[in-house]
């Protein structure tokens, strides 16, 4: 073969080899890029406070269900402060979240935050606590606190009797649940004139404040027969105050939420009753609604009341772990 021809063939062979290498490298690069999973869409879980185990369960369950459905989920704690809640919303709106599962701090004060998210095209699903608007959130999963406390009120009259002094611990005054619970309870108990409420104070749904407020109430009113608390955290604080005062066996204690510690006290005969909300049911449903929204669904019921069940010594064995066994 002629030397020039051989050089040309060698050069062609080198070019072909180089082209093959480039093609293979490109294929490998492309395959690598294709194999890289797309970043997951994000869902935010904004909770009024994580300083209460009940809300921790609410937030963690919502997050877990969102993760099960294929999302990255993050919990934000508003620490019962509307300013912190507003900052959480700003952060979430700026960070590309696709939906917000929201437990508000204030029925009126939280509306502006929800509207901001709505304006940014982010759907908000309220859990447990209501906002006083029907055109801000996409949907609201709400415990039927009023009906639950009607049942509690009826059981209160049945166990305490139609006469005697009692005290009430209210939750956060800006929250509708506080008043729906109080009004449901009073819609029954106030019909019995012999039952006299001698003290009604807010302990802001907080266990430590429940203890503190109940200590002062017990000093001023040592003869009370019963205490109605707007949530179990306050009831557990009140129970500590009763134990310290040596009155735990004499005063009947009623709470609301269905917290595990309260259910245990009912089983031990140390607490009369609570209203079992279903935080896990509400939290899961909110995550499923968000998933459906992201996938294109738009017609949601604005408010979904969730039944509250009365837990007493007669049926306590059926309840635990923030729901029905």
């Amino acid at each position: 073969m002629h030397t020039t021809q051989m050089k040309i063939m060698k050069s062609n062979w080198l070019k072909m080899a180089l082209a093959c290498l480039v093609t293979m490298a490109a294929m490998l690069f492309t395959q690598g890029a294709l194999a890289q999973p797309a970043p997951k869409q994000k869902i935010a879980v904004i909770i009024s406070t994580l300083n209460n185990p009940w809300f921790v369960v609410l937030g963690e369950t919502a997050k877990a269900r969102a993760v099960e459905l294929g999302y990255d989920a993050t919990i934000f704690d508003s620490q019962n402060d509307t300013a912190k809640e507003a900052a959480n919303f700003e952060n979430v709106i700026a960070s590309g979240y696709k939906a917000i599962l929201f437990n508000p701090t204030d029925a009126n004060g939280s509306i502006a935050n929800v509207l901001k998210a709505k304006a940014a095209g982010i759907p908000v699903f309220c859990i447990d606590r209501e906002i006083n608007s029907t055109n801000a959130a996409t949907a609201q999963m709400l415990s039927d606190s009023y009906s639950g406390c009607v049942k509690l009120g009826q059981y209160f009259v049945k166990t305490v009797g139609k006469e005697g002094e009692y005290a009430e611990l209210l939750g956060i005054v800006g929250d509708n649940n506080t008043w729906n619970r109080s009004k449901g309870f009073h819609s029954v108990v106030d019909r019995y004139p012999g039952l006299k409420m001698v003290a009604q104070q807010s302990a802001e749904f907080d266990r430590a404040k429940g203890l503190e407020v109940m200590e002062s109430i017990l000093q001023a009113h040592p003869d009370i027969k019963a205490i109605f608390c707007g949530n179990d955290a306050m009831a557990l604080g009140a129970y500590q105050a009763l134990v310290t005062a040596g009155k735990a066996d004499q005063v009947k204690l009623f709470g609301f939420d269905g917290a595990d510690d309260a259910v245990k006290l009912i089983a031990e005969g140390k607490m009369a009753a609570t209203g079992m909300q279903f935080p896990k049911t509400m939290a899961r449903q909110s995550a499923e609604f968000a998933d459906a929204y992201i996938k294109g669904k738009r017609d949601f019921p604005q408010k979904v009341p969730v039944l509250v069940e009365l837990v007493t010594k007669d049926n306590v064995d059926k309840y635990g772990d923030y729901g029905k066994k």
Binding site: A107, E130, N132, S133, T134, M141, L142, D144, Y146, S147, V150, G153, Q154, N176, W179, N180, K183, G184, S187, V188, R191, F278, T281, Q285, P301, Q302, K303, V304, P305, V306, L307, V308, E309
Partner: protein, 210 residues
Amino acid sequence: MRAARWLIAVAIAVGLCWRFPLFHAIPLKTAVAEKAAAAFDPAEFAGTFWTNQLLPSLTKAVNSETLLPAIQADAAAAKTNYSRSVGMGGSYFYFLSGTGRVVAVSDDEVSLAINDSSTNKEVALQTGLVFGNALRDGTGLLNVNDYPNSQDFNAISEALNHIVETRVLPQLHNQAKVGAKIYFTGCAEVDDESSDLKPLKVIPIQTEPR
């Protein structure tokens, strides 16, 4: 010259404030009256609702001669076919009417047998203090989504219950003699099927002697 400029600036500022006031002063009495007018009045609402919507809808109640045998035959199927529920949870409501024979009268109940040949307490008309949401939620005429603040929606229940206690129950007490026949329409809430179906606990909306 400088003073004239200041005067012009002040005049412009005053003019702007007059045209676009920064705040309005309203007499306290007027403000209170406006707030009261804007507030939801559950008693007034319930009275209008009772007359204009509830009473005209009574013909839509399911007949107890249909419902009670259906519950006895298959409670789950009866629930599917004749009940309504609100939101998530196990409780549900029946909106029913029928004629029954009084078989017992107590402080809190008038018990009726629907079947002529029976003496069983099949329906218990509730005649004591009325609590809960059976009337508000049992007919499907009112929707929670129409009320931004659920406290207003809950207040409707109390107002409707008050109407039952003051308008319906006094008549029923007069009609309730053992052996008498009574036509009734009302709502029943079923929370616990083991205790709430036999007898069906009905909050009466209307009763008539037959």
